[in-house]
Protein backbone atom coordinates (compact mmCIF):
# COMPACT_ATOMS: atom_id res chain seq x y z
CA UNK A 1 0.00 0.00 0.00
CA UNK A 2 2.93 2.28 0.68
CA UNK A 3 3.80 1.96 -3.00
CA UNK A 4 0.31 2.91 -4.08
CA UNK A 5 0.31 6.21 -2.24
CA UNK A 6 3.77 6.93 -3.54
CA UNK A 7 2.72 6.29 -7.14
CA UNK A 8 -0.42 8.35 -6.76
CA UNK A 9 1.40 11.38 -5.37
CA UNK A 10 4.28 11.24 -7.85
CA UNK A 11 1.86 10.68 -10.70
CA UNK A 12 -0.38 13.58 -9.85
CA UNK A 13 2.47 16.01 -9.29
CA UNK A 14 4.33 15.08 -12.47
CA UNK A 15 1.03 15.17 -14.29
CA UNK A 16 0.58 18.80 -13.26
CA UNK A 17 3.77 19.67 -15.14
CA UNK A 18 2.44 17.81 -18.19
CA UNK A 19 -0.69 19.90 -17.86
CA UNK A 20 1.36 23.07 -17.90
CA UNK A 21 3.13 22.10 -21.13
CA UNK A 22 -0.12 20.85 -22.64
CA UNK A 23 -1.80 24.18 -21.94
CA UNK A 24 0.77 25.80 -24.21
CA UNK A 25 -0.36 23.46 -26.93
CA UNK A 26 -4.04 24.17 -26.33
CA UNK A 27 -3.36 27.89 -26.39
CA UNK A 28 -1.86 27.75 -29.87
CA UNK A 29 -4.45 25.33 -31.15
CA UNK A 30 -7.31 27.44 -29.90
CA UNK A 31 -6.08 30.74 -31.17
CA UNK A 32 -4.57 29.78 -34.52
CA UNK A 33 -5.53 26.20 -35.28
CA UNK A 34 -1.89 25.11 -35.50
CA UNK A 35 -0.83 21.82 -33.96
CA UNK A 36 2.54 22.35 -32.37
CA UNK A 37 4.37 19.04 -32.67
CA UNK A 38 7.69 20.63 -31.74
CA UNK A 39 6.58 20.79 -28.11
CA UNK A 40 9.09 18.23 -26.88
CA UNK A 41 11.98 20.00 -28.58
CA UNK A 42 10.86 23.34 -27.17
CA UNK A 43 10.88 21.86 -23.69
CA UNK A 44 14.35 20.43 -24.24
CA UNK A 45 15.87 23.53 -25.81
CA UNK A 46 14.54 25.79 -23.10
CA UNK A 47 16.03 23.61 -20.41
CA UNK A 48 19.35 23.77 -22.24
CA UNK A 49 19.04 27.53 -22.38
CA UNK A 50 18.45 27.45 -18.65
CA UNK A 51 21.60 25.39 -18.33
CA UNK A 52 23.54 27.92 -20.40
CA UNK A 53 22.37 30.77 -18.21
CA UNK A 54 22.52 29.18 -14.78
CA UNK A 55 25.59 26.98 -15.19
CA UNK A 56 27.62 28.23 -18.13
CA UNK A 57 27.06 31.93 -17.42
CA UNK A 58 26.73 31.34 -13.70
CA UNK A 59 23.80 33.65 -12.98
CA UNK A 60 21.77 33.10 -9.81
CA UNK A 61 18.34 31.49 -10.33
CA UNK A 62 16.30 34.56 -9.27
CA UNK A 63 17.87 36.47 -12.17
CA UNK A 64 18.47 33.56 -14.55
CA UNK A 65 14.98 32.06 -14.66
CA UNK A 66 13.26 35.31 -15.68
CA UNK A 67 15.89 35.74 -18.40
CA UNK A 68 15.10 32.23 -19.68
CA UNK A 69 11.44 33.12 -19.81
CA UNK A 70 12.18 36.28 -21.75
CA UNK A 71 14.29 34.24 -24.19
CA UNK A 72 11.41 31.77 -24.52
CA UNK A 73 9.10 34.67 -25.36
CA UNK A 74 11.57 35.72 -28.03
CA UNK A 75 11.78 32.18 -29.41
CA UNK A 76 8.00 31.99 -29.63
CA UNK A 77 7.86 35.32 -31.40
CA UNK A 78 10.51 34.21 -33.92
CA UNK A 79 8.76 30.93 -34.65
CA UNK A 80 5.43 32.60 -35.23
CA UNK A 81 6.80 35.44 -37.26
CA UNK A 82 9.02 33.46 -39.62
CA UNK A 83 7.46 29.99 -39.81
CA UNK A 84 3.77 30.22 -39.14
CA UNK A 85 2.84 33.64 -40.48
CA UNK A 86 3.74 32.78 -44.10
CA UNK A 87 1.57 29.69 -43.79
CA UNK A 88 -1.66 31.31 -42.60
CA UNK A 89 -4.66 29.71 -44.33
CA UNK A 90 -2.65 26.74 -45.58
CA UNK A 91 -4.10 23.21 -45.15
CA UNK A 92 -3.64 21.53 -41.77
CA UNK A 93 -1.12 19.13 -43.29
CA UNK A 94 1.34 21.96 -43.98
CA UNK A 95 0.81 23.39 -40.52
CA UNK A 96 1.59 20.06 -38.91
CA UNK A 97 4.56 19.45 -41.19
CA UNK A 98 6.09 22.85 -40.51
CA UNK A 99 6.22 22.19 -36.79
CA UNK A 100 7.72 18.77 -37.53
CA UNK A 101 10.40 20.50 -39.60
CA UNK A 102 10.92 22.87 -36.71
CA UNK A 103 11.32 19.98 -34.30
CA UNK A 104 13.95 18.46 -36.57
CA UNK A 105 15.75 21.77 -36.78
CA UNK A 106 15.70 22.31 -33.02
CA UNK A 107 17.00 18.79 -32.50
CA UNK A 108 19.97 19.65 -34.66
CA UNK A 109 20.45 23.01 -33.00
CA UNK A 110 20.57 21.39 -29.58
CA UNK A 111 23.24 18.93 -30.74
CA UNK A 112 25.05 21.80 -32.41
CA UNK A 113 25.39 23.88 -29.27
CA UNK A 114 25.35 21.27 -26.52
CA UNK A 115 26.71 18.08 -28.16
CA UNK A 116 27.16 16.17 -24.90
CA UNK A 117 23.36 15.70 -24.71
CA UNK A 118 23.06 14.92 -20.98
CA UNK A 119 23.66 17.24 -18.06
CA UNK A 120 22.18 18.38 -14.77
CA UNK A 121 20.65 21.67 -13.74
CA UNK A 122 21.33 23.06 -10.30
CA UNK A 123 18.56 22.09 -7.94
CA UNK A 124 16.15 24.98 -7.69
CA UNK A 125 14.00 23.60 -4.93
CA UNK A 126 14.79 22.11 -1.54
CA UNK A 127 15.21 18.38 -1.81
CA UNK A 128 14.17 17.32 1.67
CA UNK A 129 11.67 14.54 1.60
CA UNK A 130 8.23 14.90 3.04
CA UNK A 131 6.30 12.05 4.59
CA UNK A 132 2.68 11.96 3.56
CA UNK A 133 1.11 9.03 5.30
CA UNK A 134 3.30 6.11 4.35
CA UNK A 135 4.68 7.71 1.19
CA UNK A 136 7.97 9.51 0.97
CA UNK A 137 7.86 12.30 -1.56
CA UNK A 138 10.63 14.61 -2.61
CA UNK A 139 9.64 18.19 -1.97
CA UNK A 140 10.65 19.11 -5.52
CA UNK A 141 7.62 17.38 -6.97
CA UNK A 142 5.30 19.32 -4.72
CA UNK A 143 6.98 22.58 -5.70
CA UNK A 144 6.61 21.71 -9.36
CA UNK A 145 2.95 20.89 -8.90
CA UNK A 146 2.39 24.06 -6.90
CA UNK A 147 3.97 26.24 -9.57
CA UNK A 148 1.90 24.58 -12.29
CA UNK A 149 -1.25 25.18 -10.33
CA UNK A 150 -0.29 28.79 -9.72
CA UNK A 151 0.37 29.37 -13.41
CA UNK A 152 -2.91 27.72 -14.33
CA UNK A 153 -4.72 30.12 -12.03
CA UNK A 154 -2.79 33.08 -13.38
CA UNK A 155 -3.59 32.10 -16.96
CA UNK A 156 -7.25 31.64 -16.19
CA UNK A 157 -7.36 35.10 -14.68
CA UNK A 158 -5.44 36.48 -17.65
CA UNK A 159 -7.96 35.06 -20.08
CA UNK A 160 -10.86 36.18 -18.01
CA UNK A 161 -9.92 39.77 -17.22
CA UNK A 162 -7.07 41.13 -19.31
CA UNK A 163 -7.75 42.86 -22.61
CA UNK A 164 -5.38 40.64 -24.55
CA UNK A 165 -6.72 37.51 -22.91
CA UNK A 166 -10.27 38.35 -23.87
CA UNK A 167 -9.13 39.10 -27.42
CA UNK A 168 -7.42 35.72 -27.52
CA UNK A 169 -10.55 33.94 -26.42
CA UNK A 170 -12.52 35.84 -29.02
CA UNK A 171 -10.07 34.79 -31.73
CA UNK A 172 -10.43 31.19 -30.70
CA UNK A 173 -14.17 31.54 -31.03
CA UNK A 174 -14.45 33.26 -34.40
CA UNK A 175 -11.43 34.51 -36.26
CA UNK A 176 -13.36 36.39 -38.94
CA UNK A 177 -15.56 38.25 -36.50
CA UNK A 178 -12.54 39.27 -34.46
CA UNK A 179 -10.80 40.60 -37.52
CA UNK A 180 -13.91 42.55 -38.41
CA UNK A 181 -13.85 44.13 -34.95
CA UNK A 182 -10.39 45.47 -35.61
CA UNK A 183 -8.43 43.16 -33.35
CA UNK A 184 -5.04 42.37 -34.90
CA UNK A 185 -5.25 38.61 -35.32
CA UNK A 186 -1.59 38.16 -36.20
CA UNK A 187 -0.62 39.85 -32.96
CA UNK A 188 -2.79 37.37 -31.09
CA UNK A 189 -1.12 34.46 -32.87
CA UNK A 190 2.29 35.73 -31.95
CA UNK A 191 1.21 36.38 -28.35
CA UNK A 192 -0.09 32.83 -28.06
CA UNK A 193 3.16 31.37 -29.38
CA UNK A 194 5.14 33.47 -26.95
CA UNK A 195 3.04 32.33 -24.02
CA UNK A 196 3.16 28.71 -25.15
CA UNK A 197 6.95 28.79 -25.42
CA UNK A 198 7.18 30.32 -21.98
CA UNK A 199 5.00 27.55 -20.58
CA UNK A 200 7.13 24.93 -22.30
CA UNK A 201 10.17 26.65 -20.81
CA UNK A 202 8.78 26.60 -17.29
CA UNK A 203 7.77 22.97 -17.73
CA UNK A 204 11.27 22.24 -18.98
CA UNK A 205 12.92 23.99 -16.04
CA UNK A 206 10.74 22.13 -13.55
CA UNK A 207 11.35 18.73 -15.13
CA UNK A 208 15.05 19.34 -15.74
CA UNK A 209 15.79 20.53 -12.22
CA UNK A 210 14.26 17.30 -10.92
CA UNK A 211 15.46 14.76 -13.46
CA UNK A 212 18.33 16.46 -15.29
CA UNK A 213 18.52 17.46 -18.93
CA UNK A 214 18.41 14.76 -21.56
CA UNK A 215 16.40 13.38 -24.42
CA UNK A 216 13.83 12.19 -21.93
CA UNK A 217 12.53 15.77 -21.91
CA UNK A 218 11.41 15.37 -25.52
CA UNK A 219 9.32 12.46 -24.33
CA UNK A 220 7.85 14.71 -21.66
CA UNK A 221 6.71 16.98 -24.45
CA UNK A 222 5.35 14.00 -26.37
CA UNK A 223 3.42 12.87 -23.33
CA UNK A 224 1.71 16.23 -23.30
CA UNK A 225 0.09 15.20 -26.58
CA UNK A 226 -1.67 12.42 -24.75
CA UNK A 227 -2.79 15.01 -22.21
CA UNK A 228 -4.34 17.22 -24.87
CA UNK A 229 -5.93 14.27 -26.63
CA UNK A 230 -7.48 13.03 -23.39
CA UNK A 231 -8.56 16.47 -22.24
CA UNK A 232 -9.76 17.68 -25.62
CA UNK A 233 -7.71 19.83 -27.94
CA UNK A 234 -9.50 23.06 -27.23
CA UNK A 235 -10.03 22.95 -23.50
CA UNK A 236 -7.74 24.43 -20.83
CA UNK A 237 -9.73 22.76 -18.10
CA UNK A 238 -9.39 19.49 -20.00
CA UNK A 239 -5.61 19.87 -20.11
CA UNK A 240 -5.49 20.67 -16.41
CA UNK A 241 -7.57 17.63 -15.48
CA UNK A 242 -6.09 15.22 -18.00
CA UNK A 243 -2.49 15.92 -16.98
CA UNK A 244 -2.75 14.38 -13.52
CA UNK A 245 -4.79 11.52 -14.95
CA UNK A 246 -2.05 10.70 -17.45
CA UNK A 247 0.62 11.08 -14.77
CA UNK A 248 -1.35 8.83 -12.46
CA UNK A 249 -2.00 6.10 -15.02
CA UNK A 250 1.59 6.28 -16.16
CA UNK A 251 3.01 5.88 -12.68
CA UNK A 252 0.53 3.23 -11.57
CA UNK A 253 1.11 1.32 -14.80
CA UNK A 254 4.85 1.71 -14.46
CA UNK A 255 4.66 0.51 -10.88
CA UNK A 256 2.43 -2.50 -11.28
CA UNK A 257 2.70 -3.58 -14.91
CA UNK A 258 6.48 -3.59 -15.31
CA UNK A 259 6.70 -6.96 -13.62
CA UNK A 260 4.01 -8.37 -15.89
CA UNK A 261 5.23 -6.96 -19.18
CA UNK A 262 8.52 -5.34 -20.13
CA UNK A 263 10.51 -2.52 -18.59
CA UNK A 264 9.78 0.90 -20.01
CA UNK A 265 6.02 0.38 -20.09
CA UNK A 266 5.79 3.66 -18.21
CA UNK A 267 7.02 5.44 -21.32
CA UNK A 268 4.45 3.96 -23.68
CA UNK A 269 1.38 4.09 -21.45
CA UNK A 270 0.57 7.65 -22.57
CA UNK A 271 0.69 6.50 -26.19
CA UNK A 272 -1.51 3.50 -25.47
CA UNK A 273 -3.89 5.92 -23.77
CA UNK A 274 -3.95 7.99 -26.96
CA UNK A 275 -5.05 5.01 -29.02
CA UNK A 276 -7.70 4.04 -26.47
CA UNK A 277 -9.08 7.57 -26.26
CA UNK A 278 -9.16 7.82 -30.05
CA UNK A 279 -11.22 4.65 -30.27
CA UNK A 280 -13.66 5.50 -27.50
CA UNK A 281 -14.01 9.25 -27.25
CA UNK A 282 -12.01 10.83 -30.06
CA UNK A 283 -12.61 14.42 -29.04
CA UNK A 284 -11.47 13.90 -25.47
CA UNK A 285 -13.19 14.59 -22.18
CA UNK A 286 -13.90 18.27 -22.69
CA UNK A 287 -13.16 18.81 -26.36
CA UNK A 288 -15.74 20.39 -28.60
CA UNK A 289 -17.28 17.88 -30.99
CA UNK A 290 -17.22 19.52 -34.37
CA UNK A 291 -20.22 18.97 -36.56
CA UNK A 292 -19.10 18.93 -40.14
CA UNK A 293 -21.04 20.33 -43.00
CA UNK A 294 -20.33 19.92 -46.65
Amino acid sequence: MADLLQFVITGITVGMVYSLIAMGFVLIWKSSGVANLALGQLVLISSWITYAILVQAGLPPWLGVPIVIVIAFGLGWLIERFLLRPLIAQPILSLIAVTLGLSYFLDGLITFIWPWSVDALPRLFPQDTIHIGTAVVSQEYLWAAGISLLLFTALTLYFKYSRMGIAMRATADDQMAVQACGIPVTKIFSRSWMLACAMAAIGGILMASIGGIGHGLIDTGMKSFSVVILGGLDSFLGAMIAGPIIGLVENLGGGYLTALTWPGIKEVIPFIMIIIVMMIKPYGLFGEVRIERI
Partner: protein
Protein backbone atom coordinates in the same frame (compact mmCIF):
# COMPACT_ATOMS: atom_id res chain seq x y z
CA UNK B 1 -5.17 15.03 -69.17
CA UNK B 2 -2.36 17.40 -69.97
CA UNK B 3 -0.94 16.82 -73.45
CA UNK B 4 1.61 18.66 -75.56
CA UNK B 5 0.18 20.34 -78.63
CA UNK B 6 -0.01 18.17 -81.72
CA UNK B 7 -0.42 14.86 -79.91
CA UNK B 8 -3.66 13.14 -80.84
CA UNK B 9 -5.10 9.85 -79.72
CA UNK B 10 -6.90 7.50 -82.10
CA UNK B 11 -7.94 4.76 -79.70
CA UNK B 12 -8.88 4.37 -76.06
CA UNK B 13 -5.78 2.29 -75.46
CA UNK B 14 -3.67 5.18 -76.69
CA UNK B 15 -5.57 7.57 -74.48
CA UNK B 16 -5.03 5.42 -71.42
CA UNK B 17 -1.32 4.87 -71.94
CA UNK B 18 1.14 6.27 -69.42
CA UNK B 19 3.77 6.79 -72.11
CA UNK B 20 2.09 8.38 -75.08
CA UNK B 21 4.64 9.76 -77.46
CA UNK B 22 7.68 8.25 -79.10
CA UNK B 23 9.88 10.72 -77.25
CA UNK B 24 8.54 9.51 -73.93
CA UNK B 25 9.29 5.90 -74.86
CA UNK B 26 12.78 6.84 -75.95
CA UNK B 27 13.39 8.78 -72.74
CA UNK B 28 12.08 5.86 -70.68
CA UNK B 29 14.42 3.52 -72.56
CA UNK B 30 17.37 5.82 -71.99
CA UNK B 31 16.54 6.17 -68.30
CA UNK B 32 16.22 2.41 -67.80
CA UNK B 33 19.43 1.80 -69.73
CA UNK B 34 21.20 4.37 -67.61
CA UNK B 35 19.91 2.72 -64.45
CA UNK B 36 21.01 -0.67 -65.74
CA UNK B 37 24.58 0.36 -66.49
CA UNK B 38 24.97 2.49 -63.39
CA UNK B 39 26.79 -0.18 -61.32
CA UNK B 40 29.66 -0.20 -63.81
CA UNK B 41 30.69 3.38 -63.05
CA UNK B 42 29.78 3.81 -59.44
CA UNK B 43 31.92 2.86 -56.49
CA UNK B 44 30.47 0.56 -53.88
CA UNK B 45 29.70 3.47 -51.57
CA UNK B 46 27.66 5.35 -54.15
CA UNK B 47 25.99 2.15 -55.23
CA UNK B 48 24.84 1.63 -51.66
CA UNK B 49 23.56 5.23 -51.71
CA UNK B 50 21.57 4.30 -54.83
CA UNK B 51 20.23 1.28 -52.96
CA UNK B 52 19.04 3.29 -50.00
CA UNK B 53 17.50 5.84 -52.36
CA UNK B 54 15.59 3.12 -54.20
CA UNK B 55 14.44 1.47 -50.98
CA UNK B 56 13.34 4.80 -49.57
CA UNK B 57 11.43 5.51 -52.78
CA UNK B 58 9.40 2.33 -52.17
CA UNK B 59 8.52 3.41 -48.63
CA UNK B 60 7.86 7.01 -49.64
CA UNK B 61 5.61 5.88 -52.48
CA UNK B 62 3.58 3.97 -49.93
CA UNK B 63 3.39 7.00 -47.68
CA UNK B 64 2.42 9.12 -50.65
CA UNK B 65 -0.53 6.85 -51.40
CA UNK B 66 -1.64 7.15 -47.79
CA UNK B 67 -0.92 10.84 -47.21
CA UNK B 68 -0.70 12.36 -50.66
CA UNK B 69 -3.63 10.61 -52.33
CA UNK B 70 -5.84 9.62 -49.44
CA UNK B 71 -4.99 12.56 -47.16
CA UNK B 72 -4.42 10.48 -44.02
CA UNK B 73 -1.32 12.02 -42.47
CA UNK B 74 0.98 9.38 -41.04
CA UNK B 75 4.03 10.30 -38.96
CA UNK B 76 4.75 6.76 -37.91
CA UNK B 77 6.03 5.38 -41.17
CA UNK B 78 9.39 4.28 -39.76
CA UNK B 79 7.48 2.14 -37.27
CA UNK B 80 5.66 0.32 -40.07
CA UNK B 81 8.93 -0.10 -41.96
CA UNK B 82 10.37 -1.65 -38.81
CA UNK B 83 7.47 -4.10 -38.63
CA UNK B 84 8.22 -5.26 -42.17
CA UNK B 85 11.95 -5.41 -41.57
CA UNK B 86 11.70 -7.44 -38.38
CA UNK B 87 8.97 -9.77 -39.62
CA UNK B 88 10.92 -10.59 -42.73
CA UNK B 89 14.22 -10.94 -40.90
CA UNK B 90 12.76 -13.24 -38.26
CA UNK B 91 10.87 -15.39 -40.76
CA UNK B 92 13.86 -15.93 -43.00
CA UNK B 93 16.54 -15.98 -40.32
CA UNK B 94 14.94 -18.11 -37.65
CA UNK B 95 12.34 -20.10 -39.54
CA UNK B 96 14.28 -20.47 -42.78
CA UNK B 97 11.59 -19.11 -45.05
CA UNK B 98 12.72 -18.19 -48.60
CA UNK B 99 13.49 -14.51 -49.07
CA UNK B 100 10.70 -13.59 -51.49
CA UNK B 101 8.06 -15.21 -49.32
CA UNK B 102 9.35 -13.59 -46.14
CA UNK B 103 9.46 -10.21 -47.87
CA UNK B 104 5.83 -10.65 -48.85
CA UNK B 105 4.95 -11.68 -45.29
CA UNK B 106 6.83 -8.63 -43.98
CA UNK B 107 4.75 -6.43 -46.25
CA UNK B 108 1.49 -8.09 -45.26
CA UNK B 109 2.32 -7.89 -41.56
CA UNK B 110 3.16 -4.19 -41.83
CA UNK B 111 -0.05 -3.71 -43.81
CA UNK B 112 -2.18 -5.35 -41.14
CA UNK B 113 -0.51 -3.48 -38.30
CA UNK B 114 -1.02 -0.29 -40.31
CA UNK B 115 -4.69 -1.10 -40.72
CA UNK B 116 -4.97 -1.68 -36.98
CA UNK B 117 -3.52 1.74 -36.20
CA UNK B 118 -5.51 3.22 -39.07
CA UNK B 119 -8.77 2.32 -37.35
CA UNK B 120 -9.02 5.70 -35.56
CA UNK B 121 -8.99 7.34 -39.01
CA UNK B 122 -12.64 6.38 -39.31
CA UNK B 123 -13.59 8.74 -36.53
CA UNK B 124 -10.92 11.40 -36.52
CA UNK B 125 -8.71 13.16 -39.00
CA UNK B 126 -6.03 15.78 -39.37
CA UNK B 127 -4.07 16.35 -36.23
CA UNK B 128 -5.79 13.60 -34.22
CA UNK B 129 -4.78 11.03 -36.78
CA UNK B 130 -1.23 12.35 -36.90
CA UNK B 131 -0.99 11.87 -33.15
CA UNK B 132 -2.34 8.35 -33.32
CA UNK B 133 0.28 7.42 -35.90
CA UNK B 134 2.95 8.91 -33.64
CA UNK B 135 1.55 6.73 -30.89
CA UNK B 136 1.76 3.76 -33.26
CA UNK B 137 5.41 4.48 -33.89
CA UNK B 138 6.25 4.59 -30.19
CA UNK B 139 4.23 1.49 -29.32
CA UNK B 140 5.73 -0.54 -32.18
CA UNK B 141 9.27 0.49 -31.30
CA UNK B 142 8.66 -0.29 -27.64
CA UNK B 143 7.55 -3.81 -28.51
CA UNK B 144 10.56 -4.29 -30.77
CA UNK B 145 12.98 -2.99 -28.17
CA UNK B 146 11.64 -5.17 -25.42
CA UNK B 147 10.53 -8.42 -27.02
CA UNK B 148 14.16 -9.40 -27.09
CA UNK B 149 13.73 -13.19 -27.31
CA UNK B 150 12.42 -12.67 -30.83
CA UNK B 151 13.68 -9.30 -32.04
CA UNK B 152 17.05 -9.17 -30.31
CA UNK B 153 16.03 -6.02 -28.45
CA UNK B 154 18.52 -3.22 -28.28
CA UNK B 155 21.42 -5.50 -29.21
CA UNK B 156 19.97 -6.10 -32.65
CA UNK B 157 19.39 -8.99 -34.95
CA UNK B 158 21.54 -10.32 -37.73
CA UNK B 159 19.77 -10.91 -41.02
CA UNK B 160 20.65 -13.47 -43.70
CA UNK B 161 21.41 -12.06 -47.16
CA UNK B 162 18.67 -12.21 -49.72
CA UNK B 163 18.59 -15.38 -51.76
CA UNK B 164 16.31 -16.26 -54.64
CA UNK B 165 16.32 -19.81 -56.03
CA UNK B 166 19.82 -20.46 -54.79
CA UNK B 167 21.30 -17.21 -56.08
CA UNK B 168 22.49 -15.14 -53.18
CA UNK B 169 22.66 -11.36 -53.43
CA UNK B 170 25.98 -10.59 -51.83
CA UNK B 171 27.62 -8.02 -54.12
CA UNK B 172 26.45 -4.44 -54.01
CA UNK B 173 25.62 -4.54 -57.75
CA UNK B 174 23.40 -7.61 -57.50
CA UNK B 175 21.52 -6.03 -54.61
CA UNK B 176 21.15 -2.93 -56.73
CA UNK B 177 19.44 -4.85 -59.55
CA UNK B 178 17.12 -6.64 -57.15
CA UNK B 179 16.07 -3.41 -55.45
CA UNK B 180 15.77 -1.58 -58.77
CA UNK B 181 13.43 -4.23 -60.16
CA UNK B 182 11.15 -4.03 -57.12
CA UNK B 183 11.23 -0.24 -57.08
CA UNK B 184 10.22 -0.04 -60.75
CA UNK B 185 7.33 -2.41 -60.08
CA UNK B 186 6.20 -0.36 -57.08
CA UNK B 187 6.34 2.95 -58.96
CA UNK B 188 4.41 1.41 -61.85
CA UNK B 189 1.80 0.06 -59.45
CA UNK B 190 1.45 3.41 -57.68
CA UNK B 191 1.17 5.29 -60.95
CA UNK B 192 -1.61 3.00 -62.08
CA UNK B 193 -3.35 2.88 -58.73
CA UNK B 194 -4.04 6.59 -58.97
CA UNK B 195 -6.12 5.99 -62.09
CA UNK B 196 -8.21 3.10 -60.82
CA UNK B 197 -11.41 3.09 -58.81
CA UNK B 198 -9.67 2.93 -55.42
CA UNK B 199 -7.25 5.67 -56.48
CA UNK B 200 -10.08 8.02 -57.41
CA UNK B 201 -11.84 7.12 -54.19
CA UNK B 202 -8.68 8.06 -52.26
CA UNK B 203 -8.53 11.45 -53.91
CA UNK B 204 -12.21 12.04 -53.19
CA UNK B 205 -11.64 11.16 -49.54
CA UNK B 206 -8.67 13.50 -49.35
CA UNK B 207 -10.60 16.40 -50.82
CA UNK B 208 -13.59 15.97 -48.56
CA UNK B 209 -14.31 12.71 -46.85
CA UNK B 210 -17.84 13.61 -45.89
CA UNK B 211 -18.74 14.53 -49.46
CA UNK B 212 -17.10 11.33 -50.64
CA UNK B 213 -19.23 9.33 -48.25
CA UNK B 214 -22.38 11.04 -49.40
CA UNK B 215 -21.49 10.10 -52.96
CA UNK B 216 -21.37 6.46 -51.97
CA UNK B 217 -17.71 5.83 -51.30
CA UNK B 218 -17.27 3.34 -48.51
CA UNK B 219 -14.99 5.26 -46.15
CA UNK B 220 -14.32 2.29 -43.90
CA UNK B 221 -13.11 0.22 -46.81
CA UNK B 222 -11.06 2.79 -48.65
CA UNK B 223 -9.37 4.45 -45.70
CA UNK B 224 -8.26 1.09 -44.38
CA UNK B 225 -7.24 0.06 -47.89
CA UNK B 226 -5.07 3.16 -48.11
CA UNK B 227 -3.48 2.31 -44.77
CA UNK B 228 -2.96 -1.25 -45.92
CA UNK B 229 -1.33 -0.34 -49.23
CA UNK B 230 0.81 2.42 -47.71
CA UNK B 231 2.06 0.21 -44.92
CA UNK B 232 2.44 -2.80 -47.20
CA UNK B 233 4.98 -0.85 -49.23
CA UNK B 234 6.61 0.27 -46.01
CA UNK B 235 6.94 -3.38 -45.05
CA UNK B 236 8.45 -4.33 -48.41
CA UNK B 237 10.91 -1.46 -48.05
CA UNK B 238 11.71 -2.58 -44.52
CA UNK B 239 12.40 -6.10 -45.68
CA UNK B 240 14.76 -4.86 -48.40
CA UNK B 241 16.41 -2.57 -45.88
CA UNK B 242 17.05 -5.54 -43.61
CA UNK B 243 18.21 -8.05 -46.23
CA UNK B 244 19.90 -5.86 -48.82
CA UNK B 245 21.08 -2.73 -47.07
CA UNK B 246 21.95 -3.11 -43.41
CA UNK B 247 22.40 -6.85 -43.04
CA UNK B 248 21.48 -6.52 -39.38
CA UNK B 249 18.72 -4.73 -37.53
CA UNK B 250 18.72 -2.36 -34.64
CA UNK B 251 15.77 -0.37 -33.28
CA UNK B 252 17.77 2.83 -33.79
CA UNK B 253 17.35 2.60 -37.56
CA UNK B 254 13.65 3.23 -37.15
CA UNK B 255 13.72 6.26 -34.95
CA UNK B 256 10.85 8.74 -34.73
CA UNK B 257 13.06 11.25 -36.54
CA UNK B 258 13.18 8.90 -39.49
CA UNK B 259 9.38 9.05 -39.61
CA UNK B 260 9.47 12.83 -39.70
CA UNK B 261 11.99 12.64 -42.49
CA UNK B 262 9.69 10.39 -44.54
CA UNK B 263 6.85 12.86 -44.16
CA UNK B 264 9.32 15.62 -45.07
CA UNK B 265 10.47 13.80 -48.18
CA UNK B 266 7.04 13.47 -49.72
CA UNK B 267 6.24 17.08 -48.88
CA UNK B 268 9.46 18.28 -50.51
CA UNK B 269 8.73 16.10 -53.52
CA UNK B 270 5.09 17.09 -53.86
CA UNK B 271 2.11 15.37 -52.28
CA UNK B 272 -0.23 13.36 -54.43
CA UNK B 273 1.98 13.13 -57.50
CA UNK B 274 3.71 10.01 -58.74
CA UNK B 275 7.10 11.64 -59.37
CA UNK B 276 7.04 13.67 -56.15
CA UNK B 277 8.33 11.01 -53.76
CA UNK B 278 11.12 10.14 -56.18
CA UNK B 279 12.41 13.71 -56.29
CA UNK B 280 12.02 14.25 -52.57
CA UNK B 281 13.78 11.03 -51.66
CA UNK B 282 16.66 11.65 -54.05
CA UNK B 283 17.15 15.16 -52.70
CA UNK B 284 17.14 14.18 -49.04
CA UNK B 285 19.14 10.97 -49.35
CA UNK B 286 21.78 12.60 -51.56
CA UNK B 287 22.01 15.51 -49.15
CA UNK B 288 22.32 12.99 -46.34
CA UNK B 289 25.15 11.03 -47.93
CA UNK B 290 27.06 14.09 -49.15
CA UNK B 291 26.80 15.70 -45.73
CA UNK B 292 27.85 12.63 -43.82
CA UNK B 293 30.63 11.64 -46.24
CA UNK B 294 32.20 14.99 -47.07
CA UNK B 295 30.92 18.00 -45.23
CA UNK B 296 30.54 16.87 -41.64
CA UNK B 297 33.94 15.14 -41.27
CA UNK B 298 35.62 18.07 -42.99
CA UNK B 299 34.03 20.66 -40.71
CA UNK B 300 34.58 18.49 -37.67
CA UNK B 301 38.33 18.45 -38.23
CA UNK B 302 38.83 21.98 -39.56
CA UNK B 303 36.52 24.14 -37.48
CA UNK B 304 37.38 23.99 -33.82
CA UNK B 305 35.40 27.01 -32.82
CA UNK B 306 32.62 25.02 -31.17
CA UNK B 307 32.44 22.19 -28.66
CA UNK B 308 33.60 18.91 -30.18
CA UNK B 309 30.79 16.87 -31.66
CA UNK B 310 28.89 19.92 -32.84
CA UNK B 311 28.96 18.95 -36.50
CA UNK B 312 26.62 16.02 -35.98
CA UNK B 313 23.94 18.59 -35.28
CA UNK B 314 24.32 20.04 -38.75
CA UNK B 315 22.45 17.32 -40.59
CA UNK B 316 19.18 17.55 -38.64
CA UNK B 317 19.40 21.34 -38.77
CA UNK B 318 19.73 21.32 -42.54
CA UNK B 319 16.97 18.74 -42.99
CA UNK B 320 14.63 20.70 -40.74
CA UNK B 321 15.43 23.91 -42.56
CA UNK B 322 14.87 22.26 -45.96
CA UNK B 323 11.45 20.93 -44.90
CA UNK B 324 10.40 24.28 -43.47
CA UNK B 325 11.69 26.29 -46.44
CA UNK B 326 9.94 24.05 -48.94
CA UNK B 327 6.67 24.41 -47.06
CA UNK B 328 6.97 28.18 -47.04
CA UNK B 329 8.45 28.78 -50.49
CA UNK B 330 7.17 25.89 -52.61
CA UNK B 331 4.35 24.04 -50.87
CA UNK B 332 3.56 22.09 -54.05
CA UNK B 333 7.00 20.57 -54.00
CA UNK B 334 9.59 19.65 -56.57
CA UNK B 335 7.00 17.86 -58.70
CA UNK B 336 5.36 21.20 -59.40
CA UNK B 337 8.70 22.72 -60.43
CA UNK B 338 9.22 19.73 -62.71
CA UNK B 339 5.82 20.32 -64.29
CA UNK B 340 6.68 23.98 -64.87
CA UNK B 341 9.98 22.99 -66.41
CA UNK B 342 8.32 20.51 -68.75
CA UNK B 343 5.73 23.03 -69.84
CA UNK B 344 8.24 25.74 -70.53
CA UNK B 345 10.38 23.23 -72.46
CA UNK B 346 7.45 22.23 -74.67
CA UNK B 347 6.40 25.72 -75.60
CA UNK B 348 9.84 27.20 -75.87
CA UNK B 349 10.61 29.79 -77.32
CA UNK B 350 7.18 31.20 -76.41
CA UNK B 351 6.33 32.10 -72.87
CA UNK B 352 2.84 30.56 -73.01
Amino acid sequence: MFLPAGVRNYSYAQDMAIFRTKTQWVLLGVLLLLLMVMPSFLSNYWLSVCNIIAITIIAATGLNILTGYCGQLSIGHAGFIAVGAYTSAILSGQLGMPFLLSMLCGGLMAGFIGMLFGLPSLRVKGFYLAISTIAAQFIIMWVIRNWSEVTGGNIGLSVPTAEIFGYSFTSQASKYYLILAITVLVIFFAKNLARTRPGRAFVAIRDNDLAAQVMGINLFRYKLLAFFIGCFFAGIAGSLLAHCYYGFLNPEFFDFKESILYAGMIIIGGLGTSVGPIFGVILIRLLDSILSLEVVPFLETHVTLFTSGWASGLKPMIFGAVIVLFLILEPRGLAHRWQLFKTSYRIWPFSY
